[in-house]
């Protein structure tokens, strides 16, 4: 029901919206919850386990009951707190976790059988018969559980992430936050003030109290205006600080576009990472309910929430309202309601000696012990101490006291401390380095104390950061003492809820204690207390008080569970903003990318790079046809392949040779200028890290190449070796991978092709096998290396990357003229397998130089990385060694990933002889060929074994052979 003359809503701006298929009207400035209450809708959700009817409990982000689904289609958003959802024109909200409807929910049956669903019941049954768990019990439980539903498909909404930096982050813009932010701003510090609401003021927007001789909300507006004028203060509304992390880093979620239509480009949410020197926790306090029988009906809400609905939204959540509390703060609700003309049926206070200046029945020393009303509160039962009597009300405002919002102070394992005077926990100072709590977050409950503590904290921080804060002019404010007598469980007949959403009652906690889940962590995990979407904000303190009572311990000894990030839940789309689709990792493109795509080559990922799989030609229907043709080109004519993705590292300096001797197993200091050598690099544990070639470009200048896969790892490794192990060596290591576009030109006609483009022709004298040197390519200074990964007479030619596109097109055109053309990764792979060249399929991280037959390349004349550990007995004895495989029959099929077994007996692990790493159909050999590893394989050449691929049902008789299938003498290389 709306109340005239109250609230901060704009009554001139109506907003139409729908809930559960019905249309309603509210106003700008409403939340979905306030607008529903204004329309006398009390039933907004269903609980998790018993599917109990539920209405709003709170008016904030801690709301456990009023969770709805917003929108429909791909972008539907489940579990939205109606209490936080700003109302906008056309808002569509739907109830969730209820079927067929919110009013009639079939699973309400769970409530009737609740005696059999007590704490942990599922641990004690559903075990028979065994197969029923996955087939019957679990699907039923899964379908009954859960809250709202995801759409199941991707949506078009945009999310965003950003970084911010400041001197002081002020968390919360209630009286404390505003006070602190203004002082810190005036001191000249860079301040970020974040608040989860769209309006600054915090509780001041919900209260009728005065600050500085004016309405509290007006004072807040005045400070907000001051802050708006300070260029060094950044005010972030609709922003929840979600987590405290190491080094003064905080996560924060800004709801940029939840309150209406979003223009193109703008996100729904921005997830901020805020780096700050200091932080002020001014997050206020959260009111807690009291447990009593059936305290969970729609219409029962916290007393502070009732004031918020009345004072901020101009809504009376009932027509006849009772107030029940154990502290003076609850009385304000009665007073505000009465001032607004709403009937207060009674004020029930568990304390014996209270007086409340209201024109209503005040019942001291009394407790509410029961309620009635299936879908909404109709009646409460009051134990006056002289008997139980009913009272007809449609709303009960409950206050069990206020819990300081200590959550962020716990994010780095801090434990809050029990403060008896307010019967709650307060932050441990220093629990998060640089973060100081003030105001009610620190346990100061009266507004005057809140402002004073904020001013004190602000001036300390300013001084700490070398600024002097202006003298605080504390505005006049209420200074009442917050008097409270703890009351956790008011009793009554029936279940009394602690965790509303998860349906955890005081009985569950007591049962847990009885079953020896007496540690607070055990109780939580056994009962699911505090594990709902509010993470126990409403219930943890009361629950552990009940546990303390059940176990005969005090509350401080019982301890707390840990609050962990995030403070309130954060959409994965926000945390992972930008990563959808291709955004997860940068895309690296070679200079030949456009020309390659233009030739319809399917592109495959190689690390972050894209490389062509093959270059299809008209009439070819399978990749194999294209691949066989490309292999033939290289073997018979000439092929061109972009190899720019290989790492290219410039190693320069007087000690370059000595450095390379230390990182490679073999020796490079003796290499002659103009020559290239194959190099093998180990990890310190003696296994192979990478291989490649290294060219001596000048006396003190080497050019190292790495594999594409290991380029980053090798660069990092070289920096490590240089800086951490051998800083004595005068050497500089610079990546030049991106500077050069480099192309393999391979095949018997490779030199002919090059000579058509080089300004000075080459021959076998000027560029012998493993020679290198500068060349002029069509007028451009380039580099030429005579190296081969195909076993053919081949070169790699490099030009500055700006010419890469042009050179690739030219090379391909020339190759085509010579009866060849471009080849892709498939052909490259076939070519190298035919020649027995290894890649990371073979040097997969568990192979040693010994395994791949390069044991002798580990020079014993010098120390190098990995040398010592490579000599461990386990790395050289009884190993699986690199071998080649041929099918015993020409049609035999080989499969990478298949294992090798003896000819007789079962193909079981105990008899495993090895495995296949790389397979190709070799058009040159005319059969499948493969590389792989077999135990003591080098001594078993010619032996017949059994290849078994259980997965694909393939079994082939294979013969072990030398891994070089083509031109074992290497004549073609030197051709």
């Amino acid at each position: 029901m709306r109340v005239d003359g109250k609230g901060r809503i704009d009554r001139s701006a109506t907003r139409s919206f729908s809930f559960a298929g019905k249309s309603y009207q509210g106003f700008a400035g409403d939340t979905l919850a306030s607008a529903l209450l204004a329309n006398d809708v009390r039933l907004m959700g269903r609980s998790f386990k018993y599917h109990r009817p539920r209405g709003v409990l709170t008016a904030g982000s801690e709301e456990p009951n009023a969770l709805v689904t917003i929108g429909s289609g791909a972008g539907q958003e489940p579990n939205v707190r109606a209490t936080m959802q700003e109302l906008y024109e056309g808002l569509e909200a739907r109830p969730q976790n209820a079927w067929p409807s919110l009013d009639w929910d079939v699973l309400e049956i769970n409530d009737l059988i609740s005696p059999f669903l007590s704490a942990g019941f599922y641990y004690k049954t559903f075990m028979w018969p065994k197969a029923f768990w996955e087939k019957v019990y679990e699907p039923f439980i899964r379908n009954a559980a859960g809250l709202g539903a995801l759409s199941g498909s991707d949506d078009a909404d945009k999310y965003d992430k950003a970084f911010a930096h400041c001197d002081v982050l002020v968390i919360g813009a209630g009286p404390a936050g505003l006070m602190a932010a203004r002082m810190l701003g005036l001191a000249g510090l860079d301040v970020i003030l974040a608040d989860e609401s769209w309006e600054l003021g915090g509780r001041l927007l919900s209260e009728t109290e005065e600050v500085g001789g004016q309405a509290g909300s007006d004072w807040a507006a005045g400070v907000a205006a001051d802050l708006g004028d300070m260029p060094n203060v950044r005010v972030m509304t609709r922003t929840t600080v979600t987590g405290a992390y190491d080094g003064g880093i905080f996560g924060a979620l800004e709801k940029v576009g939840h309150h209406g239509p979003v223009p193109n480009g703008a996100p729904r949410e921005t997830f901020w990472r805020i780096q700050t020197k200091r932080a002020v926790l001014a997050a206020g306090a959260l009111e807690r309910p009291i447990a009593f029988a059936n305290n969970d009906r729609p219409g029962v809400m916290t007393a502070g929430a009732v004031r918020t609905y009345l004072n901020r939204y101009g809504v009376a959540p009932g027509r006849k309202i009772a107030v029940f509390g154990n502290n003076d703060d609850a009385h304000r609700t009665a007073m505000d309601l009465q001032d607004a003309g709403v009937e207060v049926a009674a004020v029930i206070d568990s304390r014996d000696d209270v007086s409340v200046p209201v024109d209503a029945k005040v019942m001291a020393g009394a407790r509410v012990v029961g309620t009635k009303g299936r879908l909404g509160l109709r009646e409460i039962m009051i134990d006056t101490g002289r008997g139980v009597r009913p009272l007809q009300v449609d709303c009960l405002a409950v206050s069990g006291g206020w819990n300081p919002s200590v959550h962020l102070t716990c994010h780095m394992n801090g434990r809050p401390v029990w403060e008896p005077s307010i019967a709650s926990f307060v932050p441990t100072p220093g629990a998060v380095p640089g973060l100081v709590a003030c105001g009610s977050a620190a346990g100061d409950m009266a507004t005057a104390d809140v402002l004073a503590s904020a001013a004190r904290v602000a001036s300390d921080i300013a001084a700490d950061l070398g600024k002097s804060a202006p003298t605080a002019e504390l505005p006049e404010a209420e200074g009442h003492v917050y008097a409270i007598e703890p009351l956790w469980d008011a009793g009554g007949k029936g279940r009394a809820w602690l965790d509303f959403q998860n349906d955890v009652t005081t009985k569950d906690v007591r049962q847990a204690a009885k079953e020896n889940y007496a540690s607070v962590e055990h109780m939580k995990r056994y009962t699911t207390q505090g594990m709902a979407t509010d993470q126990g904000k409403n219930s943890n303190v009361a629950a552990l008080a009940v546990l303390a009572d059940a176990t005969g311990r005090g509350i401080p000894e019982t301890g707390t569970t840990t609050f962990r990030p995030p403070y309130s839940p954060v959409a994965l789309a926000a945390l992972g903003a930008g990563a959808k689709g291709k955004g997860f990792a940068p895309e690296r493109l070679t200079t030949s990318h456009a020309a390659t795509v233009a030739r319809n080559a399917p592109m495959i990922e190689a690390g972050l790079w894209y490389r062509p799989s093959y270059f299809p030609q008209a009439g070819e229907t399978t990749w194999r046809e294209s691949c066989d043709r490309e292999v033939g080109w290289v073997r018979d004519a000439v092929g061109v392949c972009d190899v720019s993705t290989l790492g290219k590292i410039d190693i320069q300096g007087p000690d370059a040779g000595a450095f390379l001797d230390f990182v490679y197993t073999n020796t490079f200091s003796t290499l002659k200028v103009g020559k290239v050598r194959y190099g093998l690099m180990l990890r310190e544990d003696g296994h192979v890290m990478d291989d490649g070639t290294c060219a001596r470009w000048g006396d003190t200048h080497f050019v190292m190449t790495t594999t594409t896969a290991a380029a980053g790892q090798v660069m990092k490794h070289l920096d490590y070796v240089h800086q951490c192990l051998r800083p004595d060596l005068d050497v500089s290591i610079v990546s030049a991978t991106e500077q050069w576009a480099q192309f393999a030109v391979a095949g018997p006609k490779s030199r002919d092709l090059l000579n058509a483009l080089l300004d000075a022709p080459i021959d076998n004298e000027s560029f012998p096998y493993m020679g290198c040197g500068p060349v002029s390519v069509a007028g451009v200074a380039g580099r030429l290396f005579r190296i081969s990964f195909s076993g053919e007479h081949a070169y790699e030619v490099a030009v500055p990357a700006r010419y890469g596109d042009s050179l690739f097109r030219m090379l391909v055109a020339q190759a085509e003229a010579l009866g060849g053309g471009a080849y892709g990764m498939e052909a490259l792979n076939v070519l190298r397998i035919e020649k027995g060249f290894i890649t990371h399929a073979e040097i997969h991280g568990r192979t040693t130089a010994f395994d791949i037959g390069m044991g002798r390349m580990v020079s014993s004349k010098k120390d190098c990385i990995g040398q010592t550990m490579a000599a461990r007995p386990g790395l050289v004895e009884d190993r699986e060694e690199l071998v080649g495989f041929r099918p015993a029959r020409p049609t035999g099929k080989l499969l990478a990933g298949a294992h090798i077994y003896p000819l007789d007996g079962d193909a079981v692990r105990e008899r495993d002889q090895g495995y296949i790493t790389s397979v190709a159909y070799s058009p040159t050999v005319g059969t499948d060929i493969a590389l792989g590893f077999v135990r003591n394989g080098r001594n078993r050449m010619g032996e017949k074994l059994r290849m078994m691929d259980h997965l694909r049902g393939e079994e082939t008789l294979v013969e072990l052979c030398d891994p070089v299938f083509v031109d074992p003498e290497g004549g073609r290389l030197r051709g």
Binding site: G257, N264, P267, G578, W609, H701, D730, T737, V780, A801
Partner: protein
């Protein structure tokens, strides 16, 4: 006679302009210089003599006309705008990097908000004043960020990721513009 045609790293991708922020590519010679042990001062001298620029301190850039020198990492500076003089190679490892990087300039009041979406470093005036440079992470890419004017920033990433950079910048530009439109509504 055949002739190779040069293409810049972001050719066909830039310039882009969204809501008053302009992004354009800069093409100029780049050479990384890494002084040999104990040769820092000698490199400084040679640089001054050959190119007129001072060897920059960590996080700084120096400039002389068209030529500038950017600090570029541990033991490492980048000469920009001129081919390195041969004298430099006597005291430093010199590596041509003219084609290795995609270098863009972003101009506009909102440029800082755009960058705040891509890099974790502090972009406030005190931390990154005009003339300061930083090696940092640009949306999972290894990059360099330089403030060359009040609202003028240079971003460098490897050439191969030019398209990703332009995509990321454009997305962030649109985000910032969208948010501004929302706030002004």
């Amino acid at each position: 006679m055949v002739k190779l045609i040069a293409k810049s790293a972001a050719e066909g991708l830039l310039p882009v302009e969204v809501a008053g922020v302009r992004v354009e590519e800069i093409v100029a010679p780049l050479a990384s210089l890494s002084p040999f042990q104990g040769q820092d001062a000698a490199l400084g001298k040679a640089l001054k003599k050959a190119h007129g620029v001072v060897l920059p301190k960590a996080g700084q850039i120096t400039q002389a006309g068209e030529v500038s020198c950017h600090w570029f990492g541990l033991n490492h500076v980048m000469l920009m705008g001129a081919a390195p003089d041969a004298s430099l190679a006597k005291v430093a490892a010199v590596t041509d990097q003219s084609d290795a990087w995609c270098r863009v300039r972003m101009t506009g009041e909102a440029a800082r908000d755009v960058l705040a979406r891509l890099t974790p470093i502090d972009l406030r005036d005190a931390a990154l004043p005009v003339g300061a440079t930083a090696r940092t992470d640009i949306q999972h890419m290894s990059g360099a960020l330089t403030r060359v004017g009040e609202d003028v920033w240079e971003v460098m990433v490897f050439r191969s990721v030019a398209r990703t950079l332009v995509h990321d910048l454009t997305t962030s530009l649109e985000t910032v513009a969208g948010i501004a439109e929302m706030r002004s509504a």
